[in-house]
């Protein structure tokens, strides 16, 4: 048997673009670096992949260490591996993005000690390393994904209004949608369950609450129909 010893080896990291939505706009979770290189710059949460760890497990671990969340939507986008992307040596990074319910967790105390903060995707200055490029790739992927898969719901609380859903799509797609046409389309897909509950405590006509119908979506997929917004 030949051996791998003769070949060059590189350090591997995963970087995770963690998206959240707070009813106004789309945000990502960034960490302010505490060490060189790029000290004090904001960076994507990421860490080195260990010897026995699958790439996806590593991405899950990064997310869990920061937020405590598990079982979240996670998708690999691609690898970034320019020879000069890391000042300290060759580091290949695999970019993932994840979608979380922004109000469903507390930052872990360990994380708060470092500087961890939500940033609006739309107004971001430079990031450490090639993280801006990684973010852009992940955001583009999300934009495409959200049009053909019902992943948007991952970003909303379990009960939501149609207006919240519309605002979510508007934030991700960076466009305005027509209220009537949007509602017509969503309702016609038959993937929402009307909870027969209302918003409470709002100073205007309260909206109906809905939840996403996982079961219907499974049938939907099984029968070959496709989600399309």
């Amino acid at each position: 048997m030949p051996s791998l010893d003769q070949f060059f080896k590189a350090a591997i990291t995963v970087d995770n673009v963690i998206f959240g939505f707070d009813d106004a706009d789309l945000k990502i979770l960034l960490i302010q670096r505490g060490e060189e290189p790029y000290i004090n710059k904001w960076a994507l949460p990421g860490y080195f992949v260990t010897e026995d760890e699958n790439l996806e497990s590593a991405a899950e671990r990064v997310l869990a260490e920061l937020t405590g969340l598990t079982n979240v939507y996670l998708e690999q986008v691609r690898a970034f591996g320019a020879a000069d992307r890391h000042p300290l040596g060759r580091v290949i990074t695999i970019a993932y993005y994840s979608l979380i319910k922004i109000n469903a967790f507390q930052l872990k105390p360990a994380s708060i000690a470092e500087k961890v903060k939500w940033h609006s995707v739309s107004k971001l200055d430079e990031l450490a390393f090639d993280h801006k490029e990684i973010l852009d790739a992940c955001f583009s992927r999300l934009k495409r994904r959200v049009r053909t898969r019902p992943v948007g719901f991952e970003l909303l609380p379990p009960k939501f209004t149609l207006t919240e859903l519309q605002h979510l799509y508007e934030s991700i797609l960076e466009t305005e949608l027509d209220k009537r046409n949007f509602r017509k389309k969503i309702i016609s897909m038959n993937l929402l369950i009307d909870l027969n509950e209302m918003q409470e405590g709002v100073a205007h006509r309260p909206a109906k609450l809905y939840k996403f119908d996982q079961e219907k979506y499974k049938e939907f997929v099984a029968s070959g129909y496709s989600f399309e917004i």
Copy 2:
């Protein structure tokens, strides 16, 4: 400055799904392995990334060593890095696919010595490593890409007929298309140049030859319009 020495390092490869189209169906170029592991199994062309080499350069190199071709369409799909994907140790691979004009090159003599062969995408048995999974991911990506970018032309000779173009789309999308509707759509995009030449030596009414209009496509992109089939 901290150092990378403390972190686990893995061997990195690129694997390249090289697509070609021979007027009947879509093919990929495979190599029959001459050594363990998976000796005698068919595998995607791929090789280890060297210390100073960008990932994309490595993918280009793999392609060039096999075919002599440069300047071809190449796109990264994603990384495959299951901890157990390689029997000899941890190897992360970055999957690329490329689109080449199947008749525009000769296999390099060095490659012919090894067993290199075109295989129909539709009838493939098992491949070495996780290469079937990689192929599937690349093929899916191509399917999506071909609907929104004019990458199909990369697979055709510079002069082609509308029927050839249609068959190409049918092979990639694994579906049948209506001749009249297909031609209407393609023609209405205004991205083909009618060469005022005809097929020669065919035992039936000869078809007109077209070429893809790179310039028009650039204007097209610049003005924000999108390609859609």
